[in-house]
């Protein structure tokens, strides 16, 4: 197991990158702490798989360094890095049995047969495949195959990190939950450094201690799930995480007051004079309907019932605003005003959050 340090790492698929648009992965500095579970979250094409492949050594970065503990492995081949990777589509050796699959990485490393036997049984126990050790892998379902490919990573005792590249994409919805829970438990018991790439926010937030949100080849925020929810550092994080995402409304800021449209809202903090594109962000969860005469008057377009809560799609002047109405919230269709929770308002300048 190892601490992984990325130092000024960047990658471009072009030979001679000129502008920053040419980079699939913009310069990043980050330390992956030993034994932590991370999720790399972002939409398709944001550079998360590129980053993962650089860590695993399948891709050589255009610039920068990558260190395992204190050793520079930037130019080391995948086979020398001692990492495990679980791919989007389950990779198993079709003609082998489950047992042979699990033993394969150990056999290739020339370990003793009785050790291999013992170790394979141990791992099969952990990933609950013990009952099907002698089955051929060809006819197994994809969730079992995915477990086998995870198992092939786990059998090596000295793996530096386990990397997951959207491993649940092809798994049945029912099995997804189960596998995810098992992964989480596995992480707790074995304490490997795990890096999990996904575009699914639920997967990322439930799996990881820390989530790294990426957009356009750039890391926009690194934080715990709570931080991402309550204080999105970038408007992208705001609307990408949450369902529906954060409401982002153009605003004017004057000291401790924000103006949206014709309406003025009090803020907790005092702000210096801000230049650029200024926006106010508030999550639908932190807006309430009210009869207060000071409330922002909105027109309710429609109400969607998603079971345990309702989403109100409303409009204030030119701005669409989503509001989540919980079961015990006061709400009647006559209520035409909304108020924001003062503590939960974020102010963004050119998409980045500012505190004062």
């Amino acid at each position: 197991m190892a601490k992984i340090t990325l130092s000024n790492l960047a990658h471009s698929y072009k030979d001679n990158p000129i502008s920053s648009d040419d980079y699939a992965l913009k310069p990043i500095d980050h330390v992956w702490e030993d034994g932590a579970a991370y999720a790399l979250l972002g939409p398709s094409g944001c550079g998360k798989t590129t980053l993962l492949n650089i860590i695993s050594g399948l891709l050589k970065p255009s610039s920068g360094q990558i260190l395992f503990n204190k050793k520079d492995v930037t130019n080391d081949d995948t086979s020398l890095r001692n990492i495990a990777q679980v791919f989007q589509f389950p990779v198993v050796y079709d003609t082998m049995t489950v047992k042979e699959n699990l033993a394969f990485p150990l056999k290739n490393r020339g370990l003793k047969p009785d050790y291999i036997e013992k170790r394979v049984l141990e791992i099969a126990e952990i990933i609950s495949l013990k009952s099907m050790l002698d089955k051929k892998t060809q006819s197994l379902t994809s969730d079992v195959k995915q477990k086998i490919s995870l198992g092939r990573g786990l059998v090596r005792e000295d793996v530096n990190a386990i990397l997951f590249d959207e491993p649940l994409t092809v798994i049945d919805p029912k099995m997804k939950w189960e596998l995810r829970t098992q992964l989480k438990a596995l992480h707790k018991n074995l304490g490997h450094t795990m890096i999990y790439v996904t575009h699914d926010q639920t997967e990322a937030l439930t799996f990881a201690d820390k989530v790294i949100v990426m957009s356009d080849g750039e890391v926009v925020q690194i934080g715990t799930p709570t931080e991402l929810f309550e204080k999105p550092e970038h408007t992208f994080v705001g609307y990408f995480i949450g369902s529906p995402g954060m409401n982002i409304i153009p605003a004017k800021i004057n000291n401790d007051k924000a103006t949206i449209g014709h309406h003025q809202i009090e803020l907790n903090n005092k702000f210096a004079k801000l230049d650029g594109k200024i926006e106010l962000g508030i999550r639908p969860e932190f807006i309430k309907f009210s009869n207060d005469p000071d409330a922002i008057p909105v027109e309710i377009l429609r109400i969607e019932d998603v079971g345990h809560y309702k989403i109100a799609r409303a409009r204030y002047q030119d701005y669409d605003i989503n509001i989540i109405i919980n079961e015990n919230d006061e709400f009647s269709p006559e209520m035409k005003g909304i108020v924001f929770d003062k503590d939960k308002i974020s102010i963004y300048v050119d998409d980045w959050r500012v505190e004062q």
Partner: protein, 290 residues
């Protein structure tokens, strides 16, 4: 609901029936017709029963041709299949100009008509004007495919390998290209050797196309006629007289229509039988893996 009973549906299958009749049943019946009759010309035929079949089955000349045919197919398969796989493994894997050039160059022999292939090698091997024959001659190697049995076989086998290895190669290459990158990456992580990658990833993924390739190459080589006929005409002596060359000699050269018809039917059944055995063995191999 009331069902209407009529026989109109038969008209729907009529086109197929007519097609099959003209493409298979009628020609086949003609052959069967000849195989049980004898003629002395003047369009007079009389019934001989299974006499021709007995004659063909006991004919030493046909036995020899059959053995030559089996040996030829065996040699062809054991050279072309491994060679095709080997070249396919070494083809460039990424799309690009270089890949396209390789594919076109490799596919060229497949586009040459069969008798042209024969002519090319017939000239190529001649010791007076052919590049191959002349060069060997100058190197002091005694090479003459019109007189030496070994040289005749050598020329025909090299010719077939040149002509058909591309087919094996292209199909295997298609099979290889369908393997996702993740498999190679996983193998790297598992520290698999080059041999293991071939044995456990590439070969299993190519198995489907290999079955088809072997079957196709077997059937084609077992029926080969044009190329050896153009190059050696079946000689020297009968050294390269394969089944179909022998058959044509019998039917057109000697005009023995009866025995030739019986021979054709047996030939057809042999190919059918061997193909069926091949197919069954390979399908069963596939099932064992599950």
């Amino acid at each position: 609901m009331k069902k209407t009973h009529n026989q109109k549906a038969w008209f729907m299958v009529l086109p197929v029936l007519i097609l099959v009749a003209f493409s298979a049943i009628i020609p086949m019946m003609t052959v069967i017709n000849y195989s049980v009759q004898d003629t002395f010309g003047n369009n007079e035929f009389f019934w001989v029963g299974l006499e021709w079949f007995e004659e063909v089955l006991h004919s030493e000349r046909i036995h020899d041709a059959l053995w030559r045919q089996i040996i030829f197919s065996a040699i062809i398969l054991s050279i072309e299949v491994p060679l095709g796989i080997f070249i396919a493994l070494n083809m460039p894997k990424k799309n690009g100009l270089w890949t396209s050039i390789c594919l076109v160059v490799v596919a060229l022999p497949l586009l040459v008509p069969w008798n042209v292939v024969g002519t090319i090698w017939q000239i190529f091997g001649r010791i007076d004007i052919g590049l191959l024959g002349y060069t060997l001659e100058q190197l002091g190697i005694d090479y003459n495919y019109t007189q030496n049995t070994f040289d005749a076989w050598f020329t025909i086998i090299i010719m077939d390998v040149w002509h058909w290895t591309s087919l094996v190669l292209l199909l295997c290459y298609a099979g290889l290209r369908s393997i996702p990158d993740a498999y190679y990456q996983a193998a790297k992580i598992d520290q698999a050797s080059r041999w293991s990658v071939f044995r456990y990833i590439e070969l299993p993924k190519m198995k489907g196309v290999l079955i088809i390739v072997i079957l196709l190459r077997f059937m084609d080589s077992f029926m080969i006629y044009t190329e050896p006929f153009v190059v050696t005409g079946g000689g020297p002596g009968n050294a390269t007289t394969f089944l179909s060359i022998d058959l044509v000699k019998m039917a057109i050269g000697q005009f023995d229509l009866g025995p030739a018809a019986a021979f054709s039917l047996i030939y057809f059944l042999v190919i059918l039988l061997v193909s069926w055995v091949f197919y069954t063995i390979m399908i069963n191999m596939d099932k064992e893996n599950e």
